[in-house]
């Protein structure tokens, strides 16, 4: 939990800096008519591999951040997760818009991750031991998700993601197909702030794990970020905590 507090301080400092910059530049409010534009919803989920939203960015816009760097062209959005690239897990993600209306959005998401051998030993220090370890061979992760987003009001949205995750490796035990369902509710308490609740079950058919989490998001015009913490529980009752963190510069 101390991790979370420290991360929150960093995020607040970052967002405060951004706000000052925005004020100095005397940037006007977004040009779109807020009464007629589709309600704003999150573009990215916060639980890696399993949580996605049905929304993609407008053409030509994108973000460069810790968790996601992406840009959209029409109905297609491409991106990567920079923090994983820094750790040697090179990855790419393709998101394809299927449907968009004022209340409902849907998209397919396809990702490719190459997790290097002994990825568990690449952390800073030895302080976030993970359940996963691949000491003998690299592992390919191929998530394929059908993501749906429902805007109930202009401030409340629900994101539902159905994901199939295929793992491939020279290690026989690392070859399998698993499934997951996640729900991600978002409540915009202010134009730039949101409270989000996350829940889901992942790894079905291999090692099912349920999770629940709470996060807070900041959607500034140039800086966006979110921060939260959650808990995983497997079917035997073993529990683990995790932190969700992102900070990004946005370009329109």
């Amino acid at each position: 939990m101390t991790d979370l507090m420290v991360s929150m301080l960093a995020l607040i400092a970052l967002s405060a800096t951004a706000d000052v910059q925005v004020r100095l530049k005397d940037v006007a409010a977004p040009s779109q008519d807020t009464e007629t534009a589709p309600p704003p919803v999150a573009i990215n989920g916060s639980v890696p591999l399993w949580e996605y939203t049905g929304a993609i960015r407008d053409t030509g816009s994108g973000q460069v951040g810790w968790t996601d760097a992406q840009v959209a062209f029409g109905p297609v959005q491409i991106g990567t997760k920079p923090f994983l690239d820094l750790y040697g897990s090179y990855n790419a993600e393709l998101k394809l818009r299927l449907y968009e209306s004022e209340r409902i959005r849907a998209a397919f998401v396809f990702g490719v991750y190459r997790v290097p051998t002994a990825a568990e030993s690449r952390g800073i220090g030895n302080l976030h031991a993970s359940a996963f370890a691949n000491p003998y061979a690299p592992v390919w992760l191929l998530p394929f998700a059908f993501a749906k987003s429902f805007s109930f009001t202009r401030t409340v949205a629900l994101h539902w993601s159905s994901t199939a995750l295929y793992m491939a490796s020279d290690e026989a035990a690392q070859n399998h197909l698993s499934f997951g369902q996640t729900l991600f509710a978002e409540w915009r308490t202010a134009p730039v702030w949101a409270v989000r609740a996350h829940a889901g079950i992942t790894g079905v058919r291999v090692s099912p794990v349920m999770h629940g989490a709470l996060s807070f998001a900041y959607y500034g015009e140039y800086v966006q970020g979110n921060l939260g913490a959650g808990r995983r529980v497997d079917l035997a009752g073993e529990q683990s905590s995790f932190v969700m963190l992102d900070a990004a510069l946005v370009f329109q």
């Binding site: 101390t2 591999l49 810790w66 800073i124 220090g125 992942t202 995983r232």
Partner: protein
């Protein structure tokens, strides 16, 4: 300065993202019937604390044996020797550098260095050997500030790692710091209480995973209950027949003047030209003796 602080905070937090990603990858059970050996390196458990916990019903059915501590019986050195992970510059993080002819990491710097090398950004090699070390970037801070309060989340994370990595590994090595800290801060009674709680959690875990995990715990030293006292090593050395000296000269001066010829300062040497023949004597290493027993639960103290 503000930027540096923000960057440091971000650095501390970023590893959590990586841990969160790896934690989201499902782990298949690669050997469903095979037993998994779990070795818990429990810091600072004394025989007295173990017997105290046993007298109150904990660790029943465990086999136990004694382990003679290394000299000096401090954690970094002991774990490094026990797990055969190279050498330290000296007996501890504070050491004498002959090239600089001064102590390194002396005083407060050594105190600050200890938690950093113990597991934060740049741990000693021995601490990277553990499959599980701590439950987050600030686990040492939490562990030292309130060892009892930090124990449940540490055990939660440790058992989560054991349960999942045990699906593919036949042996696991984990580390637990809290008993050592509570022994230093609260003495024997609090150490006993913590050991009872750890035994309860291990028993609960084994009931959730019947016939799957076999536990052995071992410790690096058991002197954490001793009151701090200054020890003059010269007296101790004399008692075992080793002569000591307050300064390294003339032997050391001889080596320093000829260090291009004599790379190893600890090897007996003769300097015929620049000084009188000199043969510095150093105490032999004290060997560790262990005795092992058989059984599914073992404590080596």
């Amino acid at each position: 300065m503000k930027t540096i602080v923000i960057l440091m905070l971000g650095l501390c937090a970023c590893d959590a993202s990586y841990g969160g990603f790896l934690g989201a990858v499902p782990v298949a059970d690669g050997h469903q019937e095979a037993p998994v050996q779990v070795y818990i390196g429990m810091d600072g458990v004394s025989r007295a604390a173990f017997e105290g916990a046993r007298s109150r019903g904990a660790f029943s059915g465990w086999n136990d044996t004694d382990l003679i501590a290394n000299f000096p019986a401090v954690s970094d050195y002991s774990w490094t020797r026990m797990l055969r992970t190279g050498t330290l510059h000296g007996y501890d993080l504070e050491y004498f550098d002959p090239e600089k002819n001064r102590l390194v990491n002396e005083g407060l710097q050594g105190v600050v260095e200890h938690p950093l090398r113990h597991g934060v950004l740049d741990p000693l090699p021995v601490y990277r050997k553990f499959d599980f070390m701590g439950d987050g970037t600030f686990w040492t801070v939490r562990g030292y500030s309130d060892p009892e309060a930090s124990l449940p989340p540490v055990l939660d994370e440790m058992f989560y790692v054991i349960a999942n990595r045990g699906r593919q590994q036949s042996a696991l090595l984990t580390y637990l710091m809290n008993v050592d800290v509570v022994s230093h801060q609260g003495g024997l009674p609090r150490a006993i209480a913590m050991l009872i709680e750890i035994d309860r959690r291990i028993t609960d875990f084994q009931e959730r995973h019947p016939n799957r995990f076999e536990f052995t715990f071992f410790s690096d030293h058991g002197n954490a209950h001793q009151q701090a006292a200054l020890v003059d090593p010269r007296v101790l050395l004399r008692q075992v027949g080793v002569q000591s000296t307050d300064a390294l000269d003339p032997a050391w001066a001889c080596w320093r003047r000829n260090r291009t010829r004599f790379k190893d300062p600890f090897a007996p040497m003769t300097c015929s030209r620049l000084c009188q023949p000199c043969k510095p004597r150093f105490p032999r290493r004290i060997n560790r003796n262990t005795r092992h027993s058989t059984g599914s639960k073992k404590a080596i103290l």
